[in-house]
């Protein structure tokens, strides 16, 4: 297993957000996290990336326990890419500088090397002409693709995507989704939190339904989304269908 979360517990005060949560992700697997707002999807991704500490349990990446307090979190994060719902590009830097920051400062690449790599990626996602632009001069879909490229240039072992399309209008969603589909074809291991059931169906190998901080149900997309076992899952999907999002 590339990623194993075992009995992970996370609380904010009295509020138990992740409750004995278990999740395994194999190499090259794409896992979609679904669940109601507040069910803990973002929190789980932030815990895996060690942006927040957990209150119990263990998380292993590549066989190493990353929740061991002796582990340097900076080294762990270098192996994990995280893309945020709100892009979080650095507004004072050009697109190119956003992308080359980590390769040059963290991964010891030379400026030329980093620039070439960045330009290859930008070219690939059709944004080479935006290299010198600042983030606020880009559309939402363009910004989100830059954010994904910024995570990818570091060749992460695992890519975490947190509702990367929810701030985009339908036309822009397509750009980002086709990019993720390409990554899947190349064998990138991904965990993505999403409200787009159609997308989960198309791209995920496995859908995991989170409810009140636990994995309530998981399996192939067709089964979880088409014929769920748990009443809570049915309820959730019924509401999604009502909202016209399936």
């Amino acid at each position: 297993m590339l990623l194993s979360c075992t009995d992970v517990r996370k609380t904010f005060g009295d509020h138990v957000v992740l409750d004995n949560l278990g999740l395994e992700v194999a190499e090259h697997e794409v896992v979609a996290l679904i669940g109601a707002s507040g069910s803990g999807k973002s929190t789980l991704l932030r815990c895996v990336n060690l942006l927040t500490g957990i209150d119990d349990g263990t998380i292993h990446l590549d066989g190493e326990e990353i929740t061991d307090p002796k582990v340097n979190p900076d080294l762990v994060r270098q192996k994990i890419g995280l893309v945020f719902q709100s892009y979080n590009l650095f507004p004072h830097m050009t697109v190119l500088d956003n992308i080359t920051l980590a390769p040059t400062r963290v991964h010891g690449k030379s400026a030329t090397e980093a620039r070439e790599l960045a330009m290859q990626w930008l070219d690939r996602v059709g944004l080479a002409d935006k290299a010198k632009a600042f983030p606020d001069g880009l559309s939402g879909g363009q910004q989100q693709r830059v954010a994904i490229v910024r995570a990818l240039v570091n060749s992460p072992r695992l890519l975490l995507l947190d509702e990367v399309t929810s701030a985009l209008d339908p036309e822009l969603v397509g750009e980002v989704l086709s990019m993720i589909r390409d990554l899947k074809a190349e064998g990138m291991t991904m965990v993505l939190a999403t409200h787009e059931m159609g997308f989960a169906k198309q791209v995920a190998d496995r859908v995991v339904f989170l409810d009140a901080g636990r994995v309530l149900e998981q399996g192939p997309p067709a089964q979880v989304l088409g014929d769920p076992v748990e009443p809570r899952t049915r309820q959730f999907l019924a509401r999604i269908i009502e909202a016209g999002r399936l």
Binding site: R46, N49, L51, D74, L75, R77, Q78, I80, G81, L82, F84, S86, N88, L89, F90, P91, H92, L101, A102, R105, V106, H107, D136, R150, A151, N154
Partner: protein, 279 residues
Amino acid sequence: MTYAPSARQQERFAYRRRQAIRSVLLAALSTAVVGVLFAVGITGSPGWPRVKQSFLNVDVATKYLPDILDGFWLNIQLFLVCAPLALLLGLLMAVLRTLRGPVFFPVRAIATGYTYMFRGLPLIITIYLFAFGLPGLRLQGTPDVLVLGGAAITITYGSYLAEVFRAGIESVHPSQIAAARSLGLSYRQAMRHVVLPQAVRRVAPPLLNDVVSMQKDVGLISLAGPIDAIRSAQIGQAGSANFTPYVVAAVLFILLALPLIVITDRVTLRAARTQNAGI
């Protein structure tokens, strides 16, 4: 097809041009009227000849100008040394105050205590304490009053600047740090490459304002004894029984401040524009 403005658009151009010319003429006229009123009002006042004699005396001004200029050079040097040091000190203290965790408690406490104390302490008292109190300890190698007074100014302004920097640092959204850390950057790297550049840009106008104000407060060094522009002016005033030397020093301080004030204005305007541009 090349673009040619339509007849309607050309009409608009012409109208705007006429409006622009009209407003320039109006502005020139109103400025002239106000200026003349001021001049007549002041020079026509009953006390004007006496004020002119004791504050704007050309002979006194020419006599003491060289001494005051000499003193002013000291102010400039002091400013050029103190301003960068105060900025550095302020930045350092602001960053220290953001450190989290029990290990850093003493550092945080010192930085916080420093900003609280020196923002409350009147600069004049600080200068007295530094320039006359410290030598009283009779420690080996106590520097001279110029250095001590300069240190008092630097440390006082450092505490104001620290608060401005801290406001800037705190205005950068935590998600920016999260994004930087998620890329594998250390806290220090995230601070240096992501948080501080945005923070400094945001607070550049208030920072520059404090620097302008520091530029004139270096004149308070005269309280500690060194002969700067204000001290020379004081000597001149005592020697001539005329206040013109102070006016000469005042003009010099204004001339020195002007470029900085203009820069501050520009930066403030630009900051306001870029902040509104995104919406």
